[in-house]
Structure formats: C-alpha cells, structure tokens
C-alpha cells in the first residue's frame, strides 16, 4: 500500500514537472522541470528495486546530461526573456497526433496479457556482481560493451579536436604569445 501511495505521489510530481518542462517560457525553469522528471524516474527505479539503474540514472542523466543542458542554455543570450509564444502555431495537429499515438499505445498496452499474470521476478541479491560478470563474459555482453567504449572514445577524440582549435606550440607547458605573465 505504501508503494502504491508513493508511486502515485511520484507520478503526480513527474507529470507536473513535465508540464513545466514543456510549457514554461523560462528555459532554465523548463530545464529544472526536466531534472525533476529525471529524478522521479530514478525514484521509480528504486520502487522497482532496480537500485543500480536508479543510481546510474542520477549520475548520468542529472549529473552529466542535465548539467550539460543547463550550461548550453545559460550560454545562449535570450534565456530569461520572453522569446515569443510558448506553443507552436500548429499545435492542434500536434495534439491530434500525440493524442492518437498515446491513446493507441495505452489501448494496446492495457490489453497486453503479460502484465498481470507474470509474477515479479526475484531479484538476485548479488545482481551488481552478476551485471559486472555479464559485461565481461565472452558469451555475455562483452562485444557491445567494447563497441560502446570505442564509440565513446571516438566522441572524446572528436570533442578534444574541436575544442583544441588547431595549431599550438608543442611542448610540455602551454606557451603564450609575447607579453603578459604566465
């Protein structure tokens, strides 16, 4: 009963925060709404006893992605101002498409037989160890793991190259142009 009550509370907060995220004209406040939605997501993971996923959600989404979004927003010029109407001109069409898709999804998901009859799976108390072993097991997920690492490495190299900006004097200590103290 407590979990149902908590779920209802978290869901309500998430829906309200999502509304703030999509309708607020102040971009920073909209980002805070997004952060609240992501945090609610993590709490839902905790309610489902997927603690590792919850922590990963907070670390990756809130700790890295949301901060990146906030930086990007804060570095644009027109953040705090009222920059035009909040809704797109064609919003009735968007409402029809979103409502139609959402309604169809809900309709079919409520009819899915697997939802009620499957008992909740037993969570292995050592699931973190099991996750770690699955990630490096040759019969497990080691190949996707390594491919993801290569992808991240490529992104890192690209970011460094873009930020580096071309030619620099080589040497162990960054040199400056003439004049000025180090």
């Amino acid at each position: 009963m407590v979990t149902t009550f908590l779920f209802g509370l978290i869901a309500l907060i998430m829906v309200l925060a999502a509304l703030v995220a999509v309708t607020n004209r102040n971009l920073v406040r909209a980002t805070m709404g997004l952060v609240l939605v992501l945090f609610g997501n993590a709490v839902l993971f905790v309610l489902l006893e997927a603690y590792f996923l919850a922590m990963a959600q907070i670390i990756i989404y809130i700790g890295a992605i949301a901060i990146l979004i906030v930086f990007a927003i804060m570095l644009t010029r027109h953040v705090g101002e009222d920059w035009g109407p909040a809704f797109h001109r064609a919003w009735p069409w968007a409402l029809v498409i979103a409502g139609g898709l959402g309604g169809a999804l809900l309709f079919w998901m409520v009819r899915w037989p697997g939802g009620e009859n499957t008992p909740a799976g037993q969570v292995d108390p050592n699931y973190v160890q099991a996750l770690g072993q699955a990630l490096v097991n040759p019969q497990g997920y080691v190949v996707p793991f390594e491919v993801a690492s290569v992808l991240l490495l490529a992104a890192l190299i690209g970011a460094i190259y873009v930020a580096w900006g071309g030619r620099r004097v080589k040497g162990p200590y960054p040199q400056r142009a003439e004049g000025g103290e180090r």
């Binding site: 922590m55 930086f71 973190v128 200590y173």
Partner: protein
C-alpha cells in the same frame, strides 16, 4: 540497556510495539518509523555542525598563533549559537530580478546533497546504511550538490555569480573523475559496492593496502567540498564569495553549514573506505562502540582537513584543473590498473601478504610518478628573471664602494 548495547534494533522494536499499541496499523507504523529515522539522520549531523564550527575556528586560530573565539561562553563554546542568531536576524535580501523559486531552492538543495550522503554510511554492525550500490549512491548524491551550486549562481541575477558558478561546476566535475576512479580500489579489494561490506572486509585497513589511493581520495574530497586549498570558488580576496555572493542571512547559513558538514562527511567517508570504518576493539559485540570509533576516525581526518586549510595557500583555477586532469586522473587510472591486475594474482595469498603486495605496488607507482614529474619539471622552460647580482667586494680605498647586493 544491556540488550540495547548489544543490539540497537531493540529500540526500533520497542518503538514499533509502542506505536502499534497506540492503534496504528502495521503499514502506517512502518511509515512513521521510516520518517523518524530520516528525521534523526537529517537532524543529528546538523546539530553536530554546531560543534564543528567552533572547533574549526579554534583550530585554525591556534594554527595561526592566535586564540580564536573565547568571549562567548567558556572557551567560546557558545560562539556558533551567536553566529546562528546573527544570521537569523539579518535582513532577508533578495536581489532584483532573481529567479525566486530557484533562488530559494539552491541552499536547500546544497544542504540536501550533503545530508543525502549519510544514509549510505555504515555506522556499526547492523546499524546504518546497507545499500548494495552504496558507492554509486555517494557519487549520485554528489551530483545533486553540483546542481545546487549551478542554480545558486544562475538565480542570483549576477554575472559574476554565474561565472563563479561555472567555474565551480568545472572544478567539481573535474574532480569527480579521479574520485570515482580511486573509489574503485576499495570496491576492488572488498569485491562489493556495499559500504558495509567494504568496512567488514577491512581486517587490515585499506590505507595499508593502497595509501596512495587514500591520499588521492582525501585530496579529491577536499576539492569536491571546495575547501582551501581549492576554495577559489568562494575566495574573498579574489572573487568575493563566488556563487553565493547574493546570499545573506539564513540562506547563506545553509551554504555555510552545508560546507562544514560536507567536510566532516568526507572525513567519515575516508574513515569508512580506508581507515576501517566502525571497526575497532569490541565493536562487533557492542555496535554502539562502532559509532564511537567511526566518529573518532572521521574527526581525525576532519582535523587533517582543517590542518591543510590552515596551512596551504589557494591554488589558481588553471593549476587546479590541470592538477585534476593531467595528474590525478592518469595517476588514478594507473593505480586502478595496477591494483586490478595485482589483485587477480594475490587474491588467495592471505590477508597480510596481500596487503603488503598492494602496498609494494603503491610504493612503486608513487616512485615512478615522482620520477616522471621530476623529468617533466626539468624540461620546463624557465623564464630568466634576472642575473645574479654582484656581491659586495672589498675595494681599495681610492675607488668608491659599489653598492652591496642586498
């Protein structure tokens, strides 16, 4: 009483029986007990901060050869109360154009980010946090603190606060990387992310296994809190309080108390990861003794943090970022790699041989690092700032004396 000393969950059972005796249902009793526990965990550390503020001021004063507060109460013990009263009675100024919800939320989130670290900490055998993703939880709670600072800087409607907030976030995010890497070593040695398991695996303290990792963790934690020598973020002579420049009164008191509590919390965390946590003579029979040992060890590390604060000058921002990315991160990576490979070999050797093998590997890594740093320093182009001045030499009496070099 004896039963409580042996097993503190007796208190929880007594409370549960009391509440159910008053007619509450089982689920509601659980909820009330959880709320009580949360309240205790949130209030206790904040009360301890009062003592910490006094201790820090006295200790820093003694390091600087002065007395510290000694007027308010015997030995100045009531000084923190005077501080809090002053901050409570200050006028509550909100800058024009500040984003009010975010402005109010930032100090709350900042203190919340610190208090959220406490549920993961194991206070004794069977007491305290027993999260099976404890280490990840600590990192996640740290990111909430980072967010609070960004909000504070943004919502103050102050360009300089915003710049300081950007710099703060850059520092905190940079120092998170070596922290996560270095925390992998206790996790590796204990084979678990659970802090209670890490404490229970320390028959020999992990500081003997990996002293270099303990040192790096201490440095990185000091940087994460934002204390001297990494306190450019709130340096009065340089950027006048940084991201909390527009905060006064109780809101500033929240930032202030949060920083002190964070410093003590990292002392406790260093004790948990490297100094054996609550372990000590008699702690497995009387878990309350475990709390005492943990507190003492945490306080010792806190004293070292205050010591460092009183001794060192501030680090410049570009030096600080270079230090994290170019020195600490590769060093932490090297430590983790060496530790992981070595542990695979020595895991069956027994407690002390394994400890000494890891200690030897740490010493080797430290020596290699020192040599590399020396070689790099030798190759640094040193600007010529001047010629050696001529020393005064006795001249014959007929010539005027040259000015003596001074």
């Amino acid at each position: 009483m004896g039963a409580f000393l042996r097993d503190p969950s007796v208190l929880v059972e007594w409370l549960r029986a009391l509440l159910m005796g008053w007619g509450l249902s089982a689920g509601l009793t659980e909820l009330v007990l959880y709320l009580l526990g949360g309240f205790a965990l949130a209030t206790g550390p904040m009360l301890w901060v009062i003592f910490l503020i006094w201790f820090e001021r006295k200790a820093v004063a003694r390091f600087q050869d002065r007395l510290g507060p000694n007027r308010v109460g015997k030995f100045g013990l009531l000084q923190p109360f005077a501080d809090v009263l002053k901050l409570m009675t200050k006028e509550d100024i909100i800058p024009e154009g500040a984003d009010k919800p975010l402005y109010w939320a930032a100090p709350i989130l900042s203190v919340a980010g610190v208090l959220l670290l406490w549920p993961a900490i194991p206070l004794g055998l069977g007491i305290g946090g027993n999260l099976n993703v404890g280490v990840l939880y600590l990192i996640a709670a740290g990111t909430l603190g980072i967010f609070a600072i960004l909000l504070a800087g943004w919502s103050s409607n102050n360009k300089y606060a915003l710049l300081a907030a950007f710099r703060t976030v850059a520092q905190l995010v940079s120092y998170e990387v070596p922290m996560v890497l270095v925390l992998l070593l206790p996790v590796l040695l204990a084979r678990s992310l659970n802090l209670q398991d890490i404490v229970q695996a320390q028959d020999v303290w992990f500081v003997v296994y990996v002293p270099l990792a303990a040192l790096i963790f201490l440095i990185v934690s000091i940087a994460e809190v934002g204390r001297t020598p990494f306190d450019l973020l709130e340096a009065e002579s340089e950027i006048i309080a940084g991201f909390h420049i527009e905060y006064s009164g109780m809101k500033f008191a929240m930032f202030f108390a949060g920083e002190f509590l964070h410093a003590f919390t990292i002392g406790i965390l260093t004790a948990v990861f490297f100094l054996g946590g609550w372990r000590g003579p008699g702690a497995d029979i009387y878990p309350v003794l475990g709390i005492l040992y943990l507190w003492l060890k945490g306080f010792l590390v806190y004293f070292v943090v205050v010591w460092i604060r009183a001794t060192h000058p501030r680090i410049r921002i570009d030096h600080m970022l270079n230090f994290s990315w170019k020195f600490l991160t590769p060093l932490a990576l090297a430590l983790v790699t060496v530790g992981a490979v070595l542990d695979k070999v020595v895991v069956d050797w027994g407690v002390w041989p394994r400890a000494l093998a890891h200690l030897a590997s740490n010493v080797v890594v430290a020596l290699v690092t020192l040599q590399l740093v020396r070689a790099w320093a030798r190759r640094l182009p040193r600007p010529k700032v001047g010629e050696p001045r001529p020393v005064a030499r006795p001249q014959p009496q007929t010539q005027p004396q040259p000015a003596s070099g001074d």
